[in-house]
Subunit: 348 residues, 2 copies
């Protein structure tokens, strides 16, 4: 493909190249891309989320290929759908791009969305492309829930706290990228950042099993997102920091910095969930079934706030701060945007 700019081919030209790539056969889609709006038949409760990636905010030049930007825009949304115990089905992509964007890059970005969605049997059913001084991808993802969707508010005192995977890898990569420290494109940390896990299979399995009382995906950092569960469930938590699965490749014991990234780094897109004690024995088996490490890291308590096993209070803000990229005095790097209403508190 030639390195034509959007200014050369125009939006209609771009769309004529893109649309043949987006055909998908989903019997529920009555009208897909190509009309004023898409039309789908919905056969279950609909679960909806939207999140945007913005150049200069969520990534810097060279951090992600266009294809990876598309994949990541999809995956961070899929993680939200997973956190409800639902399955992604359809997405709409709102693109903004400068007029000198290479058409090839924008096509690759969209193919990244398409391919990541296809891995979950989800399809692109609509979208929009507009001129913008800065590249952005705002993606809306719709899923359906086979089981009762899992809210953040269902946790109870005594429930065990679990987390999937390992935490801190993505934040470690971002820290290195920001500092200019060499970090291989295929390193585990870099992949943790570029390719969020989006635990769709796990989320759906947990919801179907009926063992989970509350669930959230970790985008803002473990402590911050645990606070969200605690606030909405009106409980506190005791966190066994020694049990937190810290991303620390090659190390026998994770460094203090690695632990800090696991607690407050964010962008992990792992699932954090709570399980009534009588059902905790079933969690391990579910982890085996879906091939995902699940670790018990604490318990919900009556006392407000989050404390460590030794009684020390753990604030989400801490020294490094949770994710709130608007707050002064924080590094205003990337950090996925905040879901409207994910949080009703004042700045952390």
């Amino acid at each position: 493909m030639s390195a034509q700019r959007l200014a050369d081919v125009g939006e209609f030209g771009f769309l004529s190249h893109l649309l043949p790539q987006l055909s998908a056969s989903d019997p529920c889609v009555r009208i897909g891309v190509g009309d004023d709006a898409a039309v789908v038949d919905v056969d279950a409760p609909l679960v909806l989320t939207t999140d945007a990636l913005v150049a200069g905010t969520h990534f810097q030049p060279g951090w992600l290929s266009p294809y990876q930007i598309g994949r990541r825009a999809y995956l961070v949304n899929a993680s939200d759908i997973a956190a409800m115990g639902a399955r992604p089905r359809w997405c709409l992509v709102s693109l903004g791009a400068p007029h000198d964007t290479a058409e090839r890059d924008l096509l690759r970005l969209m193919l990244g969305v398409r391919d990541a969605a296809a891995e979950h049997d989800a399809t692109v059913i609509g979208g929009n492309v507009t001129l913008s001084p800065v590249l952005f991808v705002s993606l809306t993802l719709l899923g359906t829930a086979a089981a009762q969707p899992i809210a953040r508010s269902g946790g109870n005192v005594g429930d065990r706290l679990y987390v999937s995977g390992e935490l801190g890898g993505a934040a470690t990569a971002v820290r290195a990228l920001l500092a200019g420290t060499p970090i291989g494109a295929r390193s585990r940390a870099r992949r943790a950042y570029a390719e969020p896990p989006a635990r769709v299979q796990l989320g759906a399995r947990l919801a179907a099993s009926g063992v989970v009382s509350a669930m959230i995906d970790i985008s803002d950092g473990l402590l911050q997102d645990l606070e969200h569960i605690c606030d909405l469930s009106r409980v506190g938590a005791r966190l066994d920091i020694d049990n937190v699965p810290v991303f620390a490749p090659g190390s026998r014991r994770p460094s203090a910095a690695a632990i800090e990234q696991a607690l407050r780094g964010g962008e992990d897109y792992e699932l954090l969930f709570t399980v009534p004690p009588a059902k905790a024995s079933r969690v391990e088996q579910i982890g085996s079934e879906v091939g995902c490490r699940l670790t018990q890291i604490g318990i919900l308590t009556q006392e407000h706030g989050i404390v460590a096993a030794d009684g020390r209070r753990l604030g989400a803000a801490g020294a490094a701060g949770g994710y709130d990229h608007y707050r002064r005095g924080r590094s205003r790097r990337r950090a996925p945007g905040r879901e409207l209403g994910k949080d009703g508190r004042h700045g952390s």
Copy 2:
């Protein structure tokens, strides 16, 4: 409200001020703002669209108040839902804003969305706010269709062509704003730009009546959008230019410039639809019922392309060009983004 910046209050602060304003009682909304994703029960075919407004592309400083930006972001999407004959129900708002944005302005923008949606009994059920070098509002709107959704592709040779309202007002306002010509904030042209009509009631009534074979909303200009219907319906059209309802306040006869804006200006957000001849007699009554001027402006023909009554060929591009703000040599002012797949042709 104080003139706090987002950098002062943070995202969580902003959300704590915003969310109490967004509560809405819709029995279909199981989980609204406040969790990983929203959950709704859908009782009919779902109709989905997304469109973005970007500062510097769709509006310049001083053109729209923050409240109007929010209203307009909603209304341009509602127009797409109307063009399917569906009714808006739920929206998700993805906001990008510079860190020095006044919190007050962002709240007003969201209240503009909320209030415009409320006029259609639609509600904000989710969203996202993220740091961005430039302000953007990307809105996804979901509607439900009581009747069969009306596609662009259903037109047949002999069908009469109708348009709602008047055309060219919004483009006239934008032209004046770009030229720095004084134009009152309350002038009809300015209001046509700031407050797109979004013919929801008309669209739903037309769909329910069963008289419409194809429908589109005019965002790119009458000729351009007529071309979309023609291309997808595999027909041509004869357009009676003398019958086109041209926005020309105070004039007995519209000027050539006013006619040009009506044909190619765009941003009208009126409905363009086709009606089989046997059903054309019912259109007038529907217009009376919903209080909307409906004008017959042509007929679908077998010959490819669009011609005037005198046989002259009418290209959508013309001298001024249809809307494709990426194409070189066009004024790259605003122009709502192109819906992915609204068009499969090469640049006009």
